[in-house]
């Protein structure tokens, strides 16, 4: 749709016309603010806890577990140097043999949410799939934070859809 609009504007005499080809979906997925009636709804991005511990594939579990527990967490997100999410460690994975590498024990390819998804939708999915926590990522897979089921349920009940 936007290419046709751009061409039409040019035909009307506009000299410098740009087409943001990835559009509103890309903007929302990146977690940027919007204006409008939906802007007041609580969404996954702001609910995601940004202080979630992260670790790399080649770390030993024992060291990661110590760091995660010291920070008061029972989960950690496995990322690469670009902060792209590669896996997740929940309570079960954190309890594995400490000598093993993260890439051997992590839960690969975890379910993720985009930052613009309303809290009520996140809550329903997490309850239905029994997910205690899920990473929130941008459209290019980079970590925004970790959303906890209890946070999503609380926000979803408060704000509705």
């Amino acid at each position: 749709m936007s290419p046709r609009a751009a061409w039409r504007l040019e035909s009307l005499g506009f000299g410098t016309v740009y087409d943001y080809k990835d559009g509103k979906l890309d903007w929302l997925a990146a977690g940027f603010a919007t204006e409008g009636t939906n802007a007041q709804k609580t969404r996954a991005g702001p609910l995601a806890r940004k202080d979630v511990p992260t670790c790399r594939l080649d770390e030993r579990l024992a060291g990661v577990r110590e760091r995660v527990h010291a920070a008061g967490w029972e989960a950690a997100v496995v990322v690469n140097s670009e902060r792209v999410v590669l896996g997740l460690l929940r309570s079960k994975e954190l309890a594995a043999d400490g000598e093993r590498l993260i890439e051997e024990v992590m839960r690969p390819g975890p379910s993720t949410f985009r930052p613009y998804v309303p809290a009520a939708d996140v809550a329903k999915t997490m309850v239905d799939r029994k997910l205690e926590s899920s990473p929130v990522t941008t459209s290019d897979g980079r970590l925004v934070g970790l959303i906890l089921q209890k946070d999503a349920v609380e926000a979803g009940a408060e704000h509705g859809r």
Partner: protein, 67 residues
């Protein structure tokens, strides 16, 4: 010929004074639009459009995605 841009280029151009136009139906604009964007649905772009927009400033249009 219109120039395709990405998110970062959009932010740079808007900061420099470019006009931002959402061309989706007005109801979608009302729900969510980029900060500072105005609504001119595709079907409403006509000879009157130059009155709402400055012809001498850059214009950026967008819809939902690449479709």
């Amino acid at each position: 010929m219109p120039t395709e841009i990405d998110r970062e280029e959009l932010r740079r151009l808007v900061a420099g004074g470019a006009q931002l136009v959402e061309v989706l139906p007005a109801v979608e604009y009302a729900e969510d639009h980029l900060p500072g964007a105005i609504s001119i649905p595709l079907s409403h772009i006509d000879a009157e459009s130059p009155k709402r927009l400055g012809k001498n400033r850059a214009v950026i249009v967008y819809c939902w995605d690449t479709a």
